[in-house]
Amino acid sequence: MGRLSLTLLIAAVCLSGVTLFSLVAARTLERTEAGLAEARFGFVLSRVDSAIERSVALGFPLANLPQADAVLQEARVRAPAIRAADIVSETGVTLFSTDRAALGEPMPVLWQNAIDDMRGDVFRANARGSVSLGRTIENDFGLTRGYAVVIVERGALPAPLSRAANLVPAAAPYALAAAVAGAILAALLLIAAARLRFAELSTRPDPRRPVDRANARALATTDTVNARLETAITRMQELDAAV
């Protein structure tokens, strides 16, 4: 790797470094935005969950809750991005839903997988076009009676790299400036280091330096070897003549 290619490589590292940083910053902002939006839907869900748990604690069976539909409709009104809100039994059958077509249907496999992988009492399932957030409905003894789920429009959450489209081009001038500055610094440092060394090597052989000492020994040996070869050649020429 020559000086020029190393300088260019360091410039490329600086350029890609600032670009990478803009991507990390964009993703951090997207995740924060998504976190805030999910916290909002999570709060609405927690209200649904506590309302249902209060009714269950009063002794109503989950399948016959008098106010379940009203609670679910209220959740939809509270956050318009909520496409549907469901109450699902422990066995996975939809008991109440703002989407009438879902009543009595088994819950999607994605939800079941998310419940199996759940830590704590909240689960999250990603589907095409929507994100489902769910909480367990527990009775007073901490036993799971069912699940409250809200299905949120995917568009309500920021799409991955949605902010990158703005931030990455905005980083271009900073990246270019960093690349130029990095290249100049690298060139100055490397040229200085290499010139110093080259000048020293060519003009001042140092007997303390291993390479100079080895070279001196090698040269001395070369002279001796040359003399011995000359002798052997002379002898061989004599033999040639004799033959």
């Binding site: 000086r3 190393l6 490589l9 360091i10 590292v13 600086c14 600032v18 990478l20 940083f21 991507l23 990390v24 910053a25 993703r27 951090t28 902002l29 924060t32 935005e33 976190g35 805030l36 939006a37 916290a39 909002r40 999570g42 709060f43 609405v44 509270r78 956050a79 931030l167 905005a170 980083a171 900073y174 960093a178 990095g182 610094l185 690298a186 440092l189 490397l190 290499a194 110093l196 060394r197 060519s202 330096r209 291993p210 390479v211 000492r213 080895a214 070279n215 020994r217 040269l219 001395a220 040996t221 070897v225 040359n226 011995r228 070869l229 000359e230 050649i233 002898r235 061989m236 033999l239």
Partner: protein, 611 residues
């Protein structure tokens, strides 16, 4: 140290200093660029997120207002309502959007307030049959926004330090190939000629400033080699003419006088390409990238603070012990592991890392980490031990370890910050697979004799152990706080700060007396600084302490075994203290102190014995 070695070390030191200066300069340039970008482009975007936080807080205020309206509608006066604090506390515990809630009457008098801090800026009226009976005012939480701002700031600095270190390593590799290795080989070739091996020299690379010297040496040898060819041709001619063999003893006698010289042995060419060191270095960097993620992933799979500490500690201990075992095997094999076996092992390690994306079971995860640790230790130690002792000298363990520690964990943590922990594991696995493929394309050199010593003087060995313990305790286990927070940008900055300091300190070659003892004494201060809320002071102390300790010349190969042993010790102490309910940071700091005391005792005993 003999004078010649001192001189040789001086030549390397100049290149080291240039690279350290380059690392600092690039880190400063990138820091300036990322800070400017953060100030002018990212901060306004973060401020715009305030609107989202306000929308969420408004929802909370509306819900509370409706509940209060229902209660007032049942005939309970707002100012005489009971259980308000319990109800609002329950709402706040479920919510990350609101920090405080206030209930005001129609005259704006504050009746109740729950939660601390913040301006009660978001309001929702309490309406009963259309009449205003009071107001709910909430203070939006700014934690998420502050965290985002800090994370972007930390990510910028971490990336700057990591890329500064990367530039230093690239420049060092280039200088090594262009200057240091050709000089070392030229010296070896000269020595060979002095011993009578008149073989052709391996010429330095085209761009090397040493090339002219190499060409001069080759030119000086060419008349000798020409004479030898002439002699051989003459001998062949005489032998051909001497049909009855009368002159054979005389011919053999003439050639016998030159039997101590060797002309035909080709000069052994070594792998001079920088990629032969850079790819193992990149592999070490990729393997260390998962370090900040292991503990939090292991702890995430279990519930309860104690179980988290045990799971995180034991997984890390298993990883450390496997890596130490692997490094031992790698050094024993001395680079003899053939290319197909190496590629298979690396591919399996890449698969084990990448498949963590889909893992759910803590035991399977621990097993995958153990296998990855073993493969990493074995391959890295094996690959780096191939280059030969003298030739590997510029790539001392401190430089390799420091560079990898400055870049790997920081990039791994930044990946987790940007994309989440699982995707970070998958990406690192894919990167290892790509590097495995690249490694398989490099022609395999001839395995050489053992070059990296596994032996180390006891004080230095204990010092490296203390360094590994401190690093794992503060970086991988988050200072034993048993929370394994997912503040990956902060972890990235901590990792980059400690690794960058280690790299620069190693490049500047500290030569203080009793390096192991001094290094350990500095290391002892790191947990103290961490405990007193100075994480970057702790990171710098770790780096400096590690560099001094590694400069104790613990044998080039020993740190590859001892560092993971330190990591394993930190994991075991974490698990033990978690199980017994002891403060982990205190236990780990005590262990470092004990190691330091042992080093000083050993040093004093050695001094007494010398007298």
């Amino acid at each position: 140290m003999p004078q010649s070695e001192r001189k040789d070390a001086g030549e390397n030191a100049r290149a080291d200093r240039a690279c350290a200066a380059l690392a600092l300069a690039i880190a400063l340039v990138l820091s300036a660029a990322t800070l400017a970008f953060t100030h002018f482009a990212v901060t306004p975007a973060v401020e715009r997120l305030d609107l989202n936080a306000a929308a969420g807080a408004q929802t909370v205020a509306d819900v509370i207002a409706e509940d209060f309206a229902r209660a007032v509608g049942l005939g309970i006066p707002l100012d005489a309502m009971r259980g308000v604090e319990g109800y609002v506390s329950a709402v706040l515990s479920d919510d990350t959007l609101v920090g405080a809630v206030g209930i005001l009457d129609t005259g704006e008098r504050l009746l109740f307030r729950v939660g601390e801090g913040g301006d009660l800026s978001i309001r929702s009226p309490i309406l009963v049959e259309g009449a205003l009976v009071g107001t709910v005012a909430v203070a939006p939480r700014t934690v998420a926004l502050t965290r985002a701002r800090n994370a972007v700031f930390a990510a910028g600095l971490a990336l700057s330090i990591a890329l500064g270190a990367l530039c230093a390593v690239l420049a060092r590799a280039a200088l090594l190939r262009r200057v240091n290795l050709p000089l070392a080989r030229l010296a070896k070739s000269g020595d060979a000629v002095a011993r009578g091996i008149i073989a052709s020299f391996g010429e330095p690379p085209r761009a090397s400033p040493v090339r002219a010297m190499g060409e001069a040496a080759a030119t000086a040898l060419s008349p000798v080699r020409r004479q030898h060819r002439r002699l051989t041709a003459l001998a062949d001619e005489v032998r051909a003419l001497d049909t009855d063999g009368r002159f054979r003893p005389a011919i053999d006698g003439a050639l016998e006088s030159l039997s101590d010289l060797t002309f035909d042995r080709p000069y052994k060419r070594h792998l001079t390409r920088a990629v032969s060191v850079l790819i193992p270095f990149a592999l070490l960097t990729a393997f260390t990238a998962t370090a900040p993620l292991v503990a939090s992933f292991a702890a995430d799979r279990v519930a309860g603070a104690r179980a988290e500490a045990v799971a995180a500690g034991l997984t890390l201990a298993l990883y450390g012990l496997s890596a130490a075992g692997g490094a031992h095997c790698g050094l024993l094999l001395r680079g003899r592991l053939r290319r197909p076996a190496m590629t298979i092992l690396l591919t399996l390690a890449a698969a084990a890392t990448a498949l963590t994306y889909a893992l759910r079971d803590p035991f399977v995860f621990a097993g995958a980490q153990a296998f990855t640790g073993f493969a990493a230790g074995c391959l890295i130690a094996g690959a780096l031990s191939k280059e030969g002792a003298a030739l590997a000298a510029p790539f001392r363990a401190a430089l390799v370890v420091g560079g990898a520690l400055a870049i790997g964990p920081a990039l791994g943590a930044l990946l987790a910050e940007a994309q989440g922990r699982r995707i970070a594991f998958a990406t690192i696995g894919a990167l290892i697979a790509v590097l495995a493929f690249a490694l398989s394309l490099i022609p395999q050199g001839t395995p050489r004799r053992a070059s990296l010593s596994r032996a180390a003087p006891r004080p230095a060995a204990l010092g490296v152990l203390a360094f590994g313990l401190g690093l794992a305790s503060l970086l991988a286990l988050d200072g034993g706080r048993n929370s394994y927070r997912e503040d990956y940008a902060g972890l990235a900055l901590f990792a980059a700060a400690s690794g960058g300091t280690l790299l620069i300190a190693a490049l500047l070659r500290p030569k203080w007396p009793a390096a192991a003892a001094t290094g350990s004494a500095v290391l002892v201060l790191a947990p103290v600084a961490f405990a007193f809320g100075a994480p970057f002071g702790a990171a710098a102390l770790l780096g400096v302490g590690g560099a001094i300790t590694l400069s104790a010349r613990a044998g080039c190969g020993a740190p590859f075994i001892l560092l993971p042993c330190g990591v394993a010790l930190a994991g075991l102490l974490e698990a033990g203290s978690g199980a017994l309910g002891l403060p982990p940071l205190l236990v780990q700091a005590a262990a470092i102190l004990a190691l330091c005391a042992a080093i000083i005792t050993l040093g004093l005993r050695a001094k007494r014995a010398a007298r």
